[in-house]
């Protein structure tokens, strides 16, 4: 397996959507290729960092304003 072939399947490997046979081949390539190993690990880490850090906090008071807006619609409609 070449690095380009590995890269084409990188997302499937990260998302765990490869069959056993392909996985074995991908893992074999990883063992012998430091570049692809770094790319794989750091790409996985990139996703994990974005998933686990709140970069846009919900502004305070927004929920209350929304609640009031819904209640006022409700009085009209239900």
């Amino acid at each position: 397996m070449t690095c380009s072939e590995f890269l084409a399947l990188l997302d499937d490997l990260i998302d765990d959507s490869v069959n056993t046979e392909t996985r074995t081949e991908l893992e074999k390539h990883l063992k012998g290729c430091e570049h692809c190993e770094v790319t794989f690990n750091t790409t996985r880490k990139t996703i994990e960092i974005y998933r686990s850090h709140e970069i846009y906090e919900l502004p305070s008071g927004l929920r209350e304003r929304l609640h009031a807006a819904i209640m006022s619609r409700c009085k009209k409609g239900c």
Binding site: Y50, I55, R63, L66, A69
Partner: protein, 208 residues
């Protein structure tokens, strides 16, 4: 009015379906529960698309109000969350168009870019790269980095990787084909990785 008819053999009913039914029957407090459950996600999506806090606040409010008013149109065959996300994405894009009158805002045009499609920065990262920054420094790095992605890549990454929609749901929400979502996701992930490498790469001895 849409009725929910579970197909035999399908997974059991999602808890949101019961909440939606209660709202339809006139129980507003059930809608509050749905708002609390998804307000953070909807605000984040709006902020990622509009890149403007004021717009994101308006979008969140409008999206939840619109969903409330259109609840009768919600079909039980999609998840309430993905239905709500679709409304929020549309509201966000509408807001962007208003702000940039005359300028096209499109998420379906592909961006030809070589950047990130082939990994260049191959240095490994420090073991826990986040530890080298304070929470606010890190948040700033993450914001700046993702804001620099082309819009079409950013939305796909946010929906798929941050908010947890499936490839199919992301495609449906954005009106893209599945291969288009997959190709953008790969490029978004690689570009973000490449850009974050500047901050997170393992430093040579002596440097911080």
């Amino acid at each position: 009015m849409a009725t929910i008819q579970p197909i035999a053999g399908e997974n059991e009913q999602h808890p949101d379906v019961a909440l939606v039914e209660r709202v339809r029957a006139g129980d507003v407090s059930a809608y509050d529960t749905l708002v609390r459950k998804y307000e953070r996600q909807i605000f984040r999506i709006a902020q990622h698309i509009t890149q403007n806090r004021e717009d994101a606040e308006d979008v969140m409010q409008d999206a939840f109000l619109k969903a409330y008013e259109k609840l009768d149109q919600f079909q039980g065959n999609s998840k309430f969350y993905t239905w709500l996300v679709r409304i929020a994405v549309n509201e966000s894009l509408m807001r962007l168009r208003k702000r940039r009158t005359g300028k096209m805002v499109s998420i379906d045009e592909d961006v030809e870019t070589e950047e990130g499609s082939v990994p260049r920065d191959l240095a490994d990262w420090a073991p826990d790269p986040e530890q080298n920054y304070t929470q606010s420094e890190l948040a700033e790095i993450l914001r700046k980095t993702i804001q620099g992605l082309p819009q079409g890549f950013r939305i796909v990454f946010v929906l798929r990787d941050v908010e947890g929609l499936s490839t199919e749901e992301t495609a449906e929400t954005l009106g893209l084909s599945i291969p288009a979502v997959k190709s953008r996701l790969l490029r978004a992930r690689l570009q973000l990785r490449e850009r974050l490498s500047r901050y997170f790469r393992r430093k040579k001895g002596g440097e911080k």
